[in-house]
Point group: C2
Chain length 371, copies 2
């Protein structure tokens, strides 16, 4: 029998809850001994590290006296608790917290593996990226982060396989945001359907109502989320990208509205004034149409030119990017071995269940390697 | 330091040679101690199991006196040699030999992991499939076979991740043969280009000249290769498929030509008489055209109906399958979590380099798990 493996999970939002539900149904799941949310932490009592927390039923379990309740713990406290467990430990970070992400090296140096959909650790300063992988090597711990790009789609794993087996990546290109995918598939569909005449501001308002955008749509429209994903892919492909602000990002937020506060009132003002700029977006759309093309918001990495770009681009109507449906992502890897026709991965790139699926699949891989 | 891992490789054809070249360039590659081709075997002398065979330079190395030369070894001899190595061993089968595939359980029970692009072991009788995975569990050995479907494309790994994390596969559909992809993309292109007026027999002859078909094109046209791939995917998705002949396969070989011998003369006769049947294929193509569709040769698995099918089907011209280019494969996974828009993987599904890439990536995963 392999020795038991101990699991600490942080975050019980959409992805966190979906992950806990998947965890609860795994055969031979690792023992959940720490579950932290904003201000509360649930722990299996040390030094026995049992009973473990029932993943699918933690809300009820948090009332039981057999588990330890605590307020928010510091990074050092969590790392020390997990590394003292009588077996290997894994931290699953289901938050999008940059502070927690910047402390991955603390966990890794103590031999605690990290599994996470949190982009922040891998897309901030290059020094943090290097520190994370250096610490993992030092602590003989593992880092898996499939869901940082394209949710559960096999994006990170495919790129890593290509690189590890000696292929040469020439170009990566795709639609990396479910929100921006939906906005442009609706605003500028290939076959001018009902949506073809919709104004940009109307499409943004619709997406916001459907819950497809962040509470403040400018958090999607500024392109930062896409830039973070490109930063991660470019680094895996071998480029030393300093950070997500070290290359051109075309923001879709009109300059005049960029300084509105991100308060509820500011968001309302933004949505109210957005129609003033519909003309600008129509010009772009019509420009594509005149060339028989459609406009899409894409990211790309060119490894030879060492160039990362995020912004609007025109595509042939029969291209895979133009034909994307709903809020799907598409990622094309052009490599020496694959030649002119890229390796393409496509599908839902956002949503609690599919993001959690990437986290759970990563967890299973870490378990296989630690067992 | 992890203990060294010992590698035996069988087969030096197109995939085998490409694999050895990739192996030679790996940092921290395992030690190649056995290299077998049809009638010759090259071995590191036992009991030291060194020097190892230089993977990139084995032809020259086979002349050196420091290595042991032998004729063809039996399965038991190879298994015994590898299992006596002073560390864990891995067998890479780069052949398409059904006899070798049927002996995987012998290797696995002795603790020798298996990595292979050889479909035969996983697509023959269900009893062999069960025996392989039972033996792997018994011997605590690993089995990886990504390149059995779609070459290096992340098909098997993606499907296994979906299943392992608890998603429900509802349907798998796609174009699984590079040859049949090329034939239909050329015979019935979406936009009636130059190829649109080509006759079926002309397209088959062209593919044969380009080396896209097997030496006997009937080995592609009979659909068996596709049926074997579907058998593998259906089994991973949870269906107990008895074998590749236990479900309907639509053969593209006219009945009248099926009994021609597979000799060189028989192949010539087949190619000479194929034009007699161009009319039949034109009727099918025109039938699709009348519905505004195109015809493609696809395989599908319906898990609810427990149905596997391989054959011709009509597709909307704006569908991803219809838009496929060259000899690319496309595989769509419809699942409960992914909803109406499937997870799609697309790209070259044949060729030495990309097939070998899947084998090398699998080998790296086995190494990670054994280290």
């Amino acid at each position: 029998m392999a020795s038991p493996i101990y699991l600490g999970v942080i975050g019980v939002g959409g992805v966190g809850t979906a992950f806990l539900n998947q965890l609860a149904r795994l055969p031979n799941a690792p023992q959940l001994v720490l579950l932290a949310r904003s201000s509360q932490t649930l722990l299996s009592p040390s030094p026995a590290y049992k009973p473990s927390i029932p993943a699918g039923d933690w809300k009820t379990a948090s009332e039981t006296p057999s588990l330890t309740k605590s307020g928010a713990l510091s990074v050092d406290e969590i790392a020390s608790y997990l590394s003292s467990a009588p077996g290997r430990a894994i931290l699953v970070d289901n938050t999008s917290d940059p502070a927690l992400a910047s402390s991955y090296p603390v966990f890794l140096r103590k031999g605690i593996s990290v599994v996470t959909p949190n982009k922040k650790g891998f897309s901030s300063d290059l020094s943090l990226w290097k520190d994370i992988f250096g610490a993992a090597a030092e602590g003989k711990a593992l880092v898996y982060h499939e869901s940082t790009v394209g949710a559960g789609l096999p994006v990170i794993s495919s790129l890593k396989d290509l690189v590890a087996t000696g292929d040469q990546i020439t170009r990566i290109e795709g639609v990396f945001s479910g929100t921006l995918s939906f906005l442009f598939n609706t605003f500028a569909p290939v076959s001018g359907g009902a949506g073809a005449s919709a104004k940009w501001s109307e499409v943004v308002a619709q997406a916001k109502e459907l819950g497809y955008t962040e509470p403040d749509p400018r958090d999607d429209l500024n392109g930062m989320d896409v830039a973070r994903k490109l930063t991660i892919l470019a680094r895996i492909a071998g480029l030393d990208v300093q950070g997500p602000d070290s290359f051109p990002i075309e923001s879709l937020i009109p300059n005049e509205l960029a300084s509105l506060p991100s308060t509820s009132d500011g968001i309302t003002q933004f949505m109210t004034r957005l129609p003033e700029f519909d003309g600008q977006m129509s010009v772009i759309k019509d420009g594509a149409e005149k060339q028989g093309k459609v406009v899409r918001y894409v990211g790309s990495v060119d490894t030879a030119k060492k160039e990362v770009r995020v912004g609007l681009q025109y595509f042939d109507k029969d291209s895979a990017i133009a034909g994307l449906k709903g809020s799907d992502n598409i990622i094309s890897f052009y490599t020496e071995r694959y030649g002119p026709n890229p390796l393409i991965v496509q599908g839902a790139g956002a949503g609690g269940d599919v993001t959690a699926m990437g986290v759970t699949a990563d967890l299973l891989k870490v378990l296989e390697r630690l067992s």
